[in-house]
């Protein structure tokens, strides 16, 4: 398995190189001049030219590219003109927020969708199955921005249950001690109950909002792969041995039905990172989504390139992890 992992890691290098080149070229080819955005509307042409020189944008494209690669090799991912901070510090402060939101929404999706999928599959064509189908359909169709605004309106504005949609923790609390950057985890680790309560309450609505689409997909996926599995010989054998129904479903059927679900889950992670843009904007969640949108609107190249690169690394990593977990679930899968 070690050799397999190593091989996969080496295989990532050309993929990442390709991504570096494509992102670099795409961000330059698209219209929009960062110097104009930075100078402001009232600045005369000389100022724009001066800024362009300061940013190195007056140089030929290949020189800009080699400068960029040179910086990358030194671990320098650039400066974000539209926030006034280095990209590294921006990413360090924002990535954990998005990771936390994404993980929470995956967790919620899994906790809700897998049981729903199992129930729907074991009670096929029953009332519960139809209900789950309707909910999956709604979950897959409802636009996130609408759902988010509705959540805020109902739970914050009318009922007053949810905290103000501003950030990850109440303004009167300090963020928990920085260990992982995930507020919920950090407050558990540091035993900070005040921060835990506040960060959980801030996380809940955006995470549910973000999870709806994934929830629907996982529920349908679990249902269909369960249906495939429950008709197979080994399930029949398990039943014939006189095992309890719960053991048949959970130990024999579910474990075998999880492989396709897991694959979808891995793919959903990347999708959720992208989908977080809208959720983050609506809930003023200080994550990476809004940051990247702003960078694109401001034609700020460095953060766009850095984000794409980091996401690509993350995505490759998740896919590898998913592939490795297959082996845990199904011992028949071997890595060579």
């Amino acid at each position: 398995m070690f050799a397999y992992t190593l091989k996969r890691l080496v295989q990532m290098i050309p993929a990442l190189l390709g991504i570096i080149v494509i992102t670099f070229i795409l961000s330059r080819v698209l219209p929009g001049d960062p110097a104009i955005m930075l100078a402001g509307e009232q600045a005369p042409e000389e100022i724009v030219d001066k800024i362009r020189q300061d940013m190195g944008l007056d140089k030929p494209l290949y020189i800009q590219f080699f400068t960029y690669i040179g910086q990358l090799l030194q671990g320098n991912i650039g400066y974000a003109y539209h926030t006034g901070h280095t990209v590294a510090s921006d990413l360090a402060s924002r990535f954990p927020a998005t990771i936390e939101l994404t993980l929470a929404s995956i967790l919620i999706a899994v906790l809700v969708a897998i049981p729903v999928g199992i129930v729907a599959a074991t009670r096929k064509e029953s009332f519960l199955d139809h209900i789950s189908r309707v909910f999956s359909l709604i979950g897959a169709c409802v636009p996130i921005f609408w759902l988010g605004l509705m959540f805020i309106y109902v739970f914050y504005s009318i009922l007053g249950w949810a905290p103000a949609p501003m950030g990850r923790i109440s303004g009167d609390l300090n963020p928990p001690v920085h260990i992982t950057g995930l507020y919920v985890l950090d407050s558990i680790l540091s035993g900070d109950t005040a921060a835990l309560k506040s960060s959980l309450s801030h996380l809940l609505l955006p995470a549910i909002c973000l999870s709806t689409g994934t929830m629907a997909i996982i529920a349908r996926m679990t249902r269909s792969s369960m249906l495939e599995v429950v008709d197979q010989d080994f399930v029949r054998t398990a039943r014939a041995k006189g095992l309890r129904e719960s053991a048949v479903i959970y130990k024999h059927a579910l474990v075998n039905a999880l492989i396709p679900t897991l694959t979808v889950l891995g793919l959903q992670f990347g999708f959720l990172m992208g989908g977080a843009v809208i959720t983050e904007t609506i809930f003023s969640w200080p994550g990476i989504g809004g940051y990247v949108t702003d960078s694109i609107l401001a034609a700020d190249y460095a953060p766009i390139q850095a984000f794409t690169l980091v996401s690509a690394v993350l995505y490759c990593g998740i896919n590898l992890a998913v592939d490795l977990i297959y082996g845990f679930i199904d011992p028949r899968i071997r890595y060579e």
Partner: protein
């Protein structure tokens, strides 16, 4: 078995981590106030905290580089300038009077006979937040930073500054290339904030991008463009400690959320309120909505060098075809004012002389026929993204023009692309907003409608207007100058290089507990005069 082992290792590891970390928040309610950080010490004044919702997080704290609303606001909270604007009261509301220049860090100033040398005497005993004295050296250093900056240096040129000389520790002499009536108004801007030279030199060149080193009323505690900026009162401020002990700017992009937060009382103040939400906020008796006429204008620009807009009659016809009332009530919900000159109506020297346009399709049709387009024509219109009202305006205008046979093709562009395209001077027509930082017709027209104006993207050129502007620019007598600018405005209005749309209101929603709010034409809120009662 293997999995159990893995799990127990993980648990052991996290317990170990937990052992190292102490909690960042007090765990018993009693300890909350005592440990809530540095601000906790000023217990009696602790209630005077102000929270304001902003849409953007700002891009820099460097006064010489700041050129967006949030950055400017942050700069003005932390820095002082040599001079500042006076305040006047109009219909019970406080409004900055940009023509009335008041001393700030400068105690007094003298001007030589031909208005080219200004000698500023600094107030004595004023120090920066670091404790360093505010001296002539710091002033010269700050001006020099503006001259070398990317964003602010054009203002240095606009102010016509030739050189800055330190006469003694508290005297600075600024020499201009020529007499400039806007000089003091420009000095009052955030760009010309006086920075603490010693601190900056000790901390390095990039320090001011993310830190403040001023003599202003508030000390920056935290600035994270993703979430919030926090200021605490500078208790030893030379004008007296501020009424507010803490100011927090919360960055909330979604406009509907800013409205909700204000409505629920989770923020005390919110800016950039959508016009459609004003009525619902006004129905909340705990809130006041300040809606002031700003000098931010919106106009429909037509390229004067491109057919058919090179014909005056065609441009006038467009002016007659715009459905002004629908734009004001339907798009802006009454939170805007009809624009009647190329200069905003609250700019000193404004005149609506020559303004005859009202929504009249027959008149428009007649003018088109006279211009040789009895069956209308087709043209391209470029719509920059980012402003909801622009899109509505464009669609309404398109529908109205269709009635006189004119087909307007709307091409949408992202803001960055739009600005790039606009700079080529080749767009046929577009909508654009403009706010003149310096509330003066000379500044305003010099950019937009002067033949060589750097933002004259529609190639408007009229020898008479240029001559009037040149004369006015050198005229030192205010009344004569105004008369020249009035003539220029009348010619422009008659020649109609733009169709005037509306002047935006500056809408700020705030709790009734807030007092001391004044409106400034640059739309930046000054926190120092504000106070909040519980």
């Amino acid at each position: 078995m293997k999995r159990v082992k893995l799990l127990s290792t993980l648990v052991a590891f996290s317990v170990m981590l937990a052992g190292c970390a102490s909690s960042a928040n007090p765990q018993t309610p009693a300890a909350t106030t005592a440990a809530s950080g540095t601000t906790g010490t000023a217990a009696p004044a602790a209630k005077s905290n102000l929270t304001v919702a902003y849409s953007e997080g700002g891009t820099t704290l460097d006064p010489a580089e700041a050129n967006d609303l949030t950055s400017d606001t942050l700069v003005l909270a932390a820095y002082d300038q040599l001079v500042t604007y006076g305040i006047k009261t109009e219909n019970g509301t406080s409004i900055a009077n940009t023509e009335d220049i008041q001393p700030m860090l400068a105690e007094s100033w003298e001007v030589n006979a031909d208005n080219t040398v200004y000698t500023f005497k600094l107030k004595s005993g004023v120090s920066f937040q670091s404790g360093n004295p505010v001296d002539a050296e710091a002033v010269a250093y700050s001006f020099d930073r503006v001259a070398k900056s990317s964003s602010g240096s054009f203002l240095y040129g606009m102010a016509a500054i030739k050189s800055v000389a330190v006469k003694d520790a508290s005297t600075v002499e600024v020499t201009l290339t020529n007499a400039n009536h806007n000089f003091l108004q420009i000095l009052a801007m955030y760009t010309f904030s006086i920075v603490d030279q010693k601190t900056v030199e000790a901390q390095g060149a990039d320090y001011l991008k993310t830190n403040a080193a001023g003599s202003g009323p508030f000390t920056l505690e935290k600035w994270d463009p993703a979430t919030e900026a926090v200021f605490t009162a500078n208790e030893s401020y030379w004008q007296g400690a501020p009424n507010l002990s803490k100011v927090t700017l919360k960055f909330t992009k979604e406009a509907s959320n800013r409205v909700l937060l204000l409505d629920k009382g989770d923020v005390d103040m919110a800016i950039e309120i959508p016009p459609k939400d004003v009525a619902s906020l006004q129905s909340n008796t705990d809130l006041t909505v300040a809606s002031n006429a700003s000098n931010r204008i919106l106009f429909f620009a037509m390229n004067n060098k491109v057919k058919p807009f090179d014909n005056v009659k065609v441009r006038q016809a467009i002016n007659y075809a715009i459905p002004y009332d629908e734009l004001l009530s339907g798009v802006m919900y009454g939170q805007a004012k009809q624009m009647k000159s190329s200069v905003a109506s609250n700019t000193p020297g404004f005149t609506d002389a020559g303004y005859v346009y009202e929504h009249n399709l027959d008149k428009a049709k007649e003018l088109l026929t006279e211009a040789g387009y009895p069956d209308g024509f087709t043209f391209d219109f470029t719509l920059g993204s980012g402003f909801d009202d622009w899109e509505d305006d464009a669609v309404l205008i398109q529908a109205e023009l269709a009635k006189i046979g004119v087909t307007m093709n709307i091409n949408k562009l992202a803001r960055a692309q739009f600005l790039e395209q606009q700079k080529t001077n080749n767009l046929t027509s577009y909508i654009s907003k403009w706010t003149s930082f310096v509330n003066d017709p000379g500044y305003h027209l010099g950019f937009l409608l002067y033949g060589k104006g750097s933002s004259n993207y529609i190639n408007y050129s009229n020898a008479e207007v240029d001559k009037l502007w040149d004369e006015a620019n050198l005229e030192t007598d205010a009344a004569k100058r105004t008369a020249l600018y009035e003539q220029a405005q009348e010619i422009i209005t008659t020649e109609a290089p733009w169709a005037y749309l509306y002047e935006y209101n500056r809408i700020v929603g705030m709790s009734n507990k807030i007092s001391g709010y004044a409106f400034y034409p640059d739309e930046v809120i000054r926190f120092y005069p504000l106070s909040i009662t519980e």
